[in-house]
Symmetry: C2
Subunit: 601 residues, 2 copies
């Protein structure tokens, strides 16, 4: 491997003391036209590649990041993702061989606008060609091959890093076993592009920009600082800024800056802008932010499906509730497009006030880290899955239903052997785990509660974070042999709509629910004249029950008939005795488990 | 009145051909220090001041607006609020004498940075003193007095104009009969200030800024255009930009601009920036946006209450769902602070995709215009209220309850004479109108549905737009003699919490609800084993009922006891016969009307 110090380029920021450099002499034909004859790649690695060569994890950095993910030793300067990567950390460098290379077009040692343009013998400057995320990934691919790796255990990244992960999984599917995409989506919103446009205009309008050929003189620091200030606002959230700056609105920090510092938020931005120009090149900023804006996997479900079709990896998507640059809703579009193609995908939207930058912060990545660790470790290809060893990690109680296990048994009675199953309202994954143990596959959970989603992923299950009232439309018709809806009916707003969906996505739907018309309930209502209560799911007072619906067996049957849904089989039982009820179940059973399918017209 | 053409200042934008100019020779001592010896005020008027001098409406313009609200005649150029102001329009110039003056610190004829600084004989430039909204309003006050008006029928404005309205009502309460505040709040968010800071930094960083003394040379047009582009993004909404630019993301308009136009949104912003610099002065932009950022009525409920305490006018607040610069939630804080002081206030959040600029657009101001018209016209002080003449404007059906009128009668039986009343879930204001006709006052409605809120305001009622599950905390303890909750209990999530609130805010609470345990319901459930149904509020199927709660009289009584709420009186009746039920009402009555109060401990 040829190593050489990168003497061609101007230095931006602190030196990356543990970085290595490799030069690729193959011509790189760029996606948007143009070519680069030679590429210098600057990168860092941690851990050891195993004999099988299958424990490599590639980390892709974001716009202002670099290859220095974490410190290499105690004396090293800290990296940008110390919370996630390192010995014993979620991406465990004792287990995995971790690689991160500086981006093509950046200013941290890999070929970029500050490199010499061999045709004219001076830096490219603004003449550096337009590079896309695909071009960046191609450079990374060359490095990975050079390092002797034919298949990556995982590719991981947030923001612009997430766009690279998506591209890896699409362009080089044979090299990617799994992908983790944080705070990213199929394309930036027009609002997001608009902010970038203003930032780039500020750089180009700087009096020192000089058409990008400023390396011999003063840099366009004012313009770059303006772009950074503006972008920085989009990395935070309204609520975070409120908490950070509102209490001291007119008490700016003392900053030595040419920028306005009347308001505390102004002094903060001035500081951010001034610090950024010490370590970043304006031409690189233009190059990389343009690549972000050009990234586009499509505008609608069909285009996304087409873009993602080649991918074969396992996927994990993590988004953040207050991220308005790459919002959770946009991440969900990618998840939906993968679900629509029956790809292996999990997703979680983490509740966080910290905006887009949440993927970088310890306080918002506790759950994210747990999911990343479980997703990487629970993989048959690399080692025996370890989920069974981690029962203690399951931190949320299961369903409120007091005899869930009995319910499960009845459900199993109605299940075809070894079927593929989607569990709607999968909770902490208990039922799916039982099904996995009994050989059912593939399995998918759909769950609306964030904590339960984390539990499912820690159990090594595929689960998507979605509300049943909205989240099922992406699942294709009849794509699972069984669609389960266990003890969830009573909490659904649009019951008829969800029932239509379960018989659409499952060849067989199995629905269990508590029977509101159970004899003791009727008696209570008749005699006492109050909303009936019973142990289990109906154990609530009328004024604060979480139940939205009160289904009886008869009501349910009638609704099925109205919606042209056929009842194939049914088990009605008494959950306290475990007895099956044959005689007038609407009166005598407290739980119903029913197998359904769409009646053919 | 001295009129003179304003020859001192450089011209920005098209001439205001119908503008008049008046010079105030009283020294203006500025709020943040400094003084102006003489103020030139440039303004326009429409309509005629009546004999009583009580039909004047002052319109306050926003940052980039001016005095030219509407055209004066067919040959005149259109103004910025043609949709709202003019003959027969919501602010009817056949009825009202309408005034708008250009802002202090602006660049459209009123004293600003482009005026000569008498001390140095050249334009103020960046030495123009910091002016606040309060200073702007003081200049307007002088003009209004000069025009012979001692009390304004209304002050109206959106955005920065709304901040002026707030200031008028607080600083000059004796001169303001009513205030209409659109798309404004007590203070800009830290995020909003941050965007303004970046914009001002872009202006000051422009190579032509020259410390603000650029009037003899080229103007800092690049920097001003950048500031405008950035601000423009905050005036739109994410969803609007998506609709406008996503379909043609990479098909920019052909614009002749020095700014980037790779993306369609970029070409649009370039156009906006380039056009803006033709009509606006960079120093004015800095001055006015700083005034916006400095405006601050307080950070919490106590501070807002203190700020708004002096006001005596009737208030109307209009906000827009997608406005993220002055969001509806921030407008609500002002409304809450006024409600907390029992001031006369109405509010409506209009559903709109168009962001902050919604107050300027025909498609989003149809309802806004109706409210403004009704709010201005339905005022005893100026004329007999006209609400009774407009029954056709009531465009939404009343409650779903089929015998609401009977319910009303029973409620009236339990009402103390001439009481003050808050109606929680006031619908289209039918019950409040009946109460008004019978002499009850003051009256306030609280309603969660936008269309119903508009109806209430068209009926000349005070109503605040809020969800009962969240919106009652601002109403002070025992501030109404009666708090009504009519046929609303069954749709409330937190029943106990709302009940606690009604007995807190009302000396007497009157609650009516349908009795779920009515005999036919019990019988149906016992015999048929399905969720009971009955004409009226329980006429829904189990799977799609909008009801969240199923209260019986007994259940309700028990809950009152648990929450230490005393039942003072009750009427139980059969709504089909109108008969009062004395014998076992929980079995025999289908409706309950109950008067409650907090049991003293």
């Amino acid at each position: 491997m040829s190593l050489q110090s990168n003497s061609d380029s101007q230095q931006f920021g602190a030196p990356l003391s543990h970085a290595q450099t490799w030069i690729s002499n193959d011509v790189l034909k760029l996606e948007n036209g143009g070519r680069l004859e030679q590429i210098t790649v600057c990168y860092e690695t941690w851990g050891v590649l195993n004999q099988e060569g299958n424990n490599a994890v590639l980390i892709c950095h974001a716009l202002s990041g670099d290859s220095h993910v974490v410190r290499h030793d105690a004396s090293d300067s800290p990296g940008w993702w110390e919370i996630i990567v390192g010995p014993g950390k979620p991406i465990d460098t004792d287990r995995y061989f971790v690689i991160c290379s500086n981006l093509l077009g950046g200013c941290r040692g890999t070929t970029g606008p500050n490199f010499e343009n061999p045709e004219i013998g001076q830096p490219y400057g603004a003449d550096f060609p337009v590079v896309t995320v695909r071009d960046m990934v191609e450079v990374q691919r060359r490095l990975v091959v050079r390092l002797g790796i034919s298949r990556l255990h995982s590719v991981v990244g947030g923001s612009l890093g997430g766009l690279q992960v998506l591209t890896w999984a699409i362009d080089h599917q044979e090299m990617v076993a799994s992908s983790i995409v944080l705070a990213a989506s199929a394309r930036l919103s027009s609002q997001g592009i608009a902010f970038d446009v203003v930032g780039r205009n500020a750089i180009r309008h700087d009096p020192h920009f000089a058409g990008g050929q400023y390396y011999d003189g003063p840099a366009p620091e004012g313009g770059l600082a303006l772009a950074r200030m503006l972008a920085h606002i989009t990395y935070l959230s309204d609520e975070l800024m409120r908490a950070k700056f509102d209490p001291t609105r007119l008490q700016p920090r003392a900053v030595d800056s040419a920028f306005e510092s009347t308001f505390s938020v102004g002094s903060y931005l001035a500081h951010q802008g001034d610090r950024f120009v010490e370590r970043f090149d304006a031409n690189s900023y233009v190059t990389l932010s343009t690549a972000m804006d050009l990234f586009d996997l499509g505008d609608n479900a069909e285009e996304l499906a087409r873009s993602l079709a080649p991918s074969t990896c396992r996927w994990l998507f993590v988004s953040f509730s207050s991220d308005w640059l790459y919002p959770a809703s946009a991440s969900r579009e990618l998840v939906d497009a993968l679900v629509a193609q029956s790809k292996s995908v999990s997703s979680c939207e983490i509740d966080s006030p910290a905006g887009h930058d949440s993927f970088l912060l310890a306080e918002t990545m506790e759950r994210g880290g747990r999911m990343i660790r479980a997703f990487l470790d629970n993989d048959d290809a690399i080692n025996a899955p370890i989920y069974e060893k981690n029962p203690s990690r399951i931190d949320e109680p299961t369903s409120i239903f007091y005899s869930q296990r009995l319910d499960y048994e009845m459900i199993l009675c109605l299940m075809p052997k070894d079927a593929s199953v989607v569990d709607l309202g999968s909770g902490n994954g208990e039922l799916l785990s039982i099904l996995r143990d009994r050989g059912y596959a593939p399995l998918l959970g759909v769950e609306g509660d964030q904590g339960q989603v984390v539990c499912c992923i820690e159990r090594g299950l595929s689960v998507i974070h979605a509300d049943l009232d909205q989240g099922l439309s992406a699942i294709p018709d009849q794509s699972f042999e069984v669609a389960l809806l266990s003890q969830t009916l009573q909490s659904i707003v649009d019951v008829a709509g969800v029932l239509d969906e379960v018989v659409r996505i499952g060849q067989r739907a199995i629905v269990s629910f508590p029977n509101f018309a159970h004899a003791p309930m009727r008696k209570m209502f008749l005699q006492e004249g109050r909303l009936p209560k019973e142990e289990g799911l109906y154990a609530y007072d009328w004024h604060d029950t979480p139940n939205r619906r009160f289904p009886s067996i008869l009501d349910f049957q009638e609704l099925c008939e109205k919606r042209r849904i056929r009842i194939l089989e049914a088990i009605y039982f008494n959950s306290s005795t475990g007895e099956e009820i044959v005689d007038d179940p609407n009166l005598n059973a407290d739980v119903a488990v029913v197998a359904l399918s769409r009646a053919s017209s």
